[in-house]
């Protein structure tokens, strides 16, 4: 299970963020190789590797790249989503700070594949140190001629809004607007940033690309499951002995991740529940953790791999209180564009709060479930569907705990 480290292989070096350290460990050799390959061949290699998007949606990366219209003659943009914000996730922070040149090299290759001359990296506003580190790496890459020879990178700072992690919300924000998601279709690959075909990829996804080009699609595919290649970085927090990032094959089980890598459960030592893929993923009970952490494994378990943010809760944690905290987040971060999301997130937070405070009403639980189910799938973006995951799963899996708090 302790698979070979790929993305995090240099994290032990204090200077891993520098160009020198990156070159010493084989940096930019994939880019050399890629320049001899046609764009279609690069896309095909990534397709064959079974690389899936690691920001949340798990969409096959090569397939996404292939959506750029072949007959388009104007600009194409590559946008990197470094707006990390999914509660429980902190992997992209590490990559920006400690392996920024892998992102730049991955962008060069991706840009060649989609025929883009300009890349934007959208870094969340709160990430000041990651933004400085990554910007310094971009300057190094310009000074040494990796950038500025047909491909330019603009580092863009966000200003605090979870919804800008949603790809069309991010595009709105990049265009100088509030981060309202856009109706799809048209998908960004057809009409994205500034009205042009655009590919939006997560930081970690793109950091994998140089390794795929260097070592081959078959190697990468072989690291994972049948439908998802590679390793990914799991962010583990909550009630575990060793919270932190762990790079492992996507075929690792949740139990192995918690017990073997993160050192096991703290609190009273007995597991109650786990959030497997960031707060928008449905919660799993203690007896549901023998699942593999790949996109399809977790989908089959009724939840999602999401951003691989794992939050562990032992028996002493109050699930209603946890839901209240999560519901507060969705109420605060709803962008307000679609009525079902704007209204439901606010009301559901109020209801969970009054339940926790001992003023819950008899029909509150059924009302939350009803409102959650009715709204799902009715909004422009996936934000509300993400909120529905926890609303429904926390209540359905721990209903007795909620009922115990509601006055008879």
């Amino acid at each position: 299970m302790t698979a070979e480290k790929i993305l995090t292989r240099n994290f032990g070096r204090a200077d891993s963020h520098t160009l020198r350290a990156y070159l010493e460990t084989g940096g930019y050799t994939a880019w050399q190789k890629a320049q001899a390959l046609e764009s279609a061949a690069l896309t095909e290699e990534v397709k064959q590797s079974n690389l899936r998007g690691l920001g949340g949606a798990g969409f096959p990366t090569g397939t996404k790249w292939a959506f750029i219209p072949k007959n388009h003659t104007g600009p194409v943009y590559l946008v990197i989503n470094a707006d990390e914000g999914e509660p429980g996730t902190f992997k992209d922070r590490y990559l920006l700070e400690r392996e920024p040149h892998a992102l730049i090299e991955g962008m060069l290759i991706a840009a060649r594949a989609i025929r883009s001359a300009t890349g934007f990296v959208y870094v969340r506003g709160e990430y000041v140190e990651p933004w400085r580190r990554f910007s310094a790496a971009v300057r190094e890459a310009y000074d040494d001629g990796y950038l500025g020879q047909g491909f330019d990178v603009v580092v863009h700072r966000g200003a605090g809004a979870y919804i800008c992690g949603e790809e069309t919300g991010l595009i709105s924000s990049l265009e100088g607007k509030k981060g309202w998601p856009k109706v799809k279709p048209p998908f960004p690959a057809i009409k994205g940033a500034f009205g042009m075909p655009t590919i939006v990829n997560n930081v970690e996804t793109i950091c994998h690309v140089p390794h795929i080009i260097n070592r081959g699609a078959a190697w990468f595919a072989g690291l994972g499951t049948k439908t998802q290649g590679g390793t990914r970085i799991f962010s583990v927090s909550g009630r575990v002995r060793k919270p932190g990032i762990y790079e492992a094959s996507v075929s690792i089980t949740l139990r192995e991740l918690i017990d073997d890598l993160a050192g096991g459960v703290t609190g009273n030592g007995r597991l109650k529940a786990v959030v497997p893929g960031g707060s928008s993923a449905a919660i799993l009970r203690f007896d549901e953790i023998d699942v593999t952490m790949d996109v399809d494994g977790l989908r089959n378990a009724g939840t999602m791999a999401g951003s691989a943010g794992v939050i562990v809760m032992d028996e002493t944690v109050s699930i209603p209180e946890a839901l209240m905290v999560v519901a507060r987040f969705y109420a605060h971060e709803s962008c307000g564009q679609c009525t079902p999301c704007r209204e439901s997130t606010g009301w559901i937070y109020k209801m969970t709060k009054r339940i926790v405070e001992g003023h819950g009403r008899k029909d509150d639980l059924d009302k939350i479930l009803d409102v959650a189910r009715r709204g799902a799938g009715t909004t422009i973006c996936a934000f509300y569907d993400g909120a529905v995951g926890p609303y429904i799963s926390y209540i359905e899996k721990f209903r007795a705990e909620f009922e115990a708090l509601i006055p008879k």
Binding site: P75, T89, R157, F194, M196, G244, V325, F329
Partner: protein, 160 residues
């Protein structure tokens, strides 16, 4: 203190031009320029919104809509330091409520307020994505990790 004129310096205006040139539509530079404006003028008042709107040929209403959408833009004067405690799930599980309580008690203010001497603004915010070091908070540009009430006291004492 006299009210400062709301205008960028020549150097800052050159930076605005450089930022605008980076985007296919210059409006893409609005967020970066608003960050600059906040650094230059302390907070983004309505007159600052109008000034920035003028630089972009945008309506003040558009800029207002943007400024009010994002949490990092301050529309009122803020303290010399902004202390933003994460209250999301991982930090909550690690004792964020106690950290918030300690800060409120030490500073004598509620969340969202600024101390009377104008030194510190206290905020309670959503996930800052450093959950492996929960509970944590952001003090200006810096992440402060693995907080305890005692560590909070030391951090506050270090702020000038």
């Amino acid at each position: 203190m006299t009210v400062a004129t709301i205008a960028f310096t020549t150097d800052q205006l050159a930076e605005v031009r450089r930022l605008r040139s980076l985007y296919p539509d210059p409006r893409g530079a609005l967020l970066p320029v608003l960050h600059m404006a906040q650094d230059a003028f302390g907070h983004i008042s309505l007159p600052v919104e109008e000034y920035v709107a003028g630089l972009f040929n945008l309506s003040p209403a558009h800029v207002h809509e943007v400024v009010t959408f994002y949490t990092l833009f301050f529309r009122e004067p803020r303290g010399r330091h902004v202390v933003a405690v994460c209250h999301n799930l991982s930090c909550h599980l690690a004792g964020a409520p106690e950290i918030v309580a300690r800060l409120k008690a030490r500073l004598g203010i509620e969340v969202g307020e600024t101390t009377e001497d104008g030194k510190i603004t206290l905020q309670s915010v959503e996930c800052l994505c450093a959950c492996e070091h929960a509970p944590m908070m952001q003090v200006d540009d810096r992440y402060e990790l693995g907080l305890t009430p005692e560590k909070v006291d030391r951090i506050l004492e270090g702020l000038r």
